[in-house]
């Protein structure tokens, strides 16, 4: 079947959306943008194609009476197991890479001890991974780097302590290896992974194996790919396949909510305010200037500083009912301000609430600069996933612009890619 793909190469994450020629979304994929944009684009595309397969399965299963009502569970199960297999494979790769990276004078005479520590750490990682992929568990992040990283820190530190070995040593090996692993182009054997995932699943039955295999057999043809986003100039596409991220965001938001007139996108290092007309054409836009203060990366720094996952910041800030006023939105200084405030005895959740407010205040300024907020208003980008940011935004929108409908789609991080995919369809179908 014909697939139209939009890829949004962001500064922190790369997103892909697959569409069919009727502008129906088939699949979405995301990965973290890393030093190798080609790989990031390839991975996100592959993820989106995997997701497309899941959609096709879903369609296939819809015709199987035995599983009626259970399709969602089956798919979720399938996906979870698949992710787990994928995780374990990458973990093996990481361990192998780590071992080969133990070299140089800093390890002299300690190789054995380091290898043992690594083995210990990785075996704990493998054990604990099952729990991370258990049904109903919310994972800290979607990305291998974050998932493996967080666990590695806690297990690694413990293992090293027991072995009386400096943690810095194996942390360094890890830092070196994780980039290598991330930047390896994804291994091809997607279907094999699926079958393995299927075998692990609890729902093995011949009645579903068949539709699954049928879905696997549909060829996915990459008819047209459009690239956008921060790194678009580095995408391996010809110029006519590239669209400005502003236009893609505008169009993407329009596709999700045709009545939308104002779009706010807060990404890793830029914040955009966009006005679109009734047919999805951008009328006006503003972006942050050359200072990255108050963008998504800010939350990343804070999360690192607090040793928390990005996904955990919002929920903690939600516990606060009194926000501390934060003045410096400089991403880097935010960490220092945080410590200052903690030292003054402020509560973590209150400081966090203040930090979220600071980000949203910046965004409000950009919106104001772009011409204010009109009904309906759509919030997109990674930060839209953060409930505390959303809470502040809702408050401030109401105070400043009254009752406007605020749209936030759980998949809003894909807005740019969705716009790109729409452009791809237009390029061919029109």
């Amino acid at each position: 079947m014909r697939c139209f793909i939009g890829i949004d190469l962001g500064s922190t994450t790369t997103k892909a959306v697959v569409m069919d020629e009727n502008l129906q979304i088939l699949g979405r994929g995301i990965t973290n943008s890393r030093s190798n944009y080609d790989t990031a684009a390839a991975v996100s595309k592959q993820e989106a194609l995997i997701d497309t397969r899941l959609t096709l399965f879903r369609r296939g299963l819809a015709a199987v009476p035995e599983v009626a009502g259970k399709v969602d569970d089956i798919i979720a199960d399938l996906e979870r197991n698949f992710r787990h297999v994928q995780f374990l494979e990458q973990l093996d790769d990481l361990e192998r890479t780590c071992v080969t990276n133990i070299k140089g004078p800093r390890f002299a005479g300690r190789e054995r001890a380091v290898i043992e520590a690594l083995e210990g750490t990785f075996s704990r990682l493998r054990e604990s991974s099952a729990a991370q992929y258990a049904p109903g568990v919310k994972r800290k992040s979607d990305f291998f780097r974050d998932l493996a990283g967080a666990e590695f820190m806690s297990h690694g530190e413990a293992v090293c302590k027991e072995a009386n070995l400096g943690f810095d040593l194996i942390l360094n090996v890890y830092d070196k290896s994780i980039i290598e692993v991330e930047n390896r182009p994804p291994a091809g054997d997607m279907e094999g992974k699926f079958v393995r995932a299927l075998e692990k699943g609890t729902m093995t039955g011949s009645s579903i194996l068949k539709p699954v295999q049928a879905a696997l057999a549909i060829p996915l043809e990459e008819t047209y790919v459009v690239g956008t986003g921060y790194g678009r100039v580095r995408l391996p596409f010809p110029k006519e396949h590239i669209r400005s991220e502003i236009l893609c965001h505008g169009l993407g938001a329009h596709m999700m909510y045709p009545e939308t007139r104002t779009v706010l996108d807060i990404g890793g290092q830029d914040t955009k305010g966009i006005q679109v007309d009734p047919v999805g054409i951008v009328e006006n836009f503003q972006m942050n200037d050359r200072c990255a203060a108050g963008c998504g990366r800010y939350l990343g720094y804070i999360a690192d500083e607090m040793n928390m996952g990005l996904h955990e910041l919002g929920p903690l800030a939600m516990k606060s009912n009194k926000s501390v006023r934060i003045n410096s939105t400089c991403t880097v200084f935010a960490g220092a301000e945080l410590r200052d405030r903690l030292a003054l005895g402020e509560k973590r959740e209150d400081i966090l609430a203040g930090l979220h407010r600071a980000i949203i205040l910046r965004a409000m300024s950009i919106l104001s600069r772009a011409g204010g907020v009109k009904d309906q208003f759509t919030f997109t980008g990674g930060v839209a996933k953060n409930e505390a940011a959303v809470r502040e935004l809702r408050k401030l929108i109401k105070e400043n612009y009254g009752d406007v409908q605020i749209n936030i789609d759980p998949d809003s991080i894909y807005t740019g890619a969705l716009g790109g995919a729409t452009f791809a369809v237009r390029a061919v179908v029109n």
């Binding site: 030093s35 190798n36 810095d168 360094n172 830092d175 070196k176 200072c291 990255a292 030292a343």
Partner: protein
Amino acid sequence: MSELITTGVDIGSGCIKTVVFKVNGDKTEWLGKETARIRNRDPFQLTTEAYDSMLKNAGVNAKDVAYVASTGDAENLKFATGHFYSMTTHGRGGLYLNPEARAVLDIGALNGRAIRMDGSGKVLSYKMTSQCASGSGQFLENIARYLGIAQDEIGSLSMKADDPEKVSSICAVLAETDVINMVSRGITASNILKGIHVSMAVRLAKLLKSIGAVEGIVQVTGGLALDTGLVAALNEAAEQEKVNLVAVANPDSIYAGAIGAALWGAYRHEKLARLGQAA
């Protein structure tokens, strides 16, 4: 003039440093030192731990300390006798580490400070960077981690650069993306690190020049003094600017603030004692 024990405590944004000294007139003897990374710890509690452990290792009894001098973010340190501000203490500490130095460049996790002083440690002029974290130690640390390079490898790698890549962005966050782009273009870690060092060095040289430090020895202090690549880049920047500055570091550079505090503490203690007698 009697012998006395003083201590210096420097609470930084990344690191806590403590030292203990025996001072007798012009004679000083360094008895002990200790550092601790703050990383998500309560700095004051960490300070107490580091301080106690330092005294224990040095075999000094806490009640024998005549003056506990704090510096850095330590105005509220409970057990301090008195507080001196960072640039006062780094000037003195730099001079202790290198009696020839007439200027100090303190490069810490977030701020850079340039200090010019005379042979007695008296501060003549100074300036610090603030507000914007471009080109800070923290930034370098993040990049190094991203590149998978241990902190003590940065220097030697940077010195191996053959074609340093300019970092154009002035913002630490945007520069991070610059760096990612560089990696994707296949630029080596050496050249990237050197590029960052060069742009930091140019800014720091500017800072030095703006306080009138244009010749002689500059003692580099603070955590980044250990970064030999940065020190080398500083010297190159000085050469390019045709100023006669030589930047040198010392393995104990990170203690400069604490040392300065301890020594000024001794000075102040004597002065107070004298005043006490006079009164």
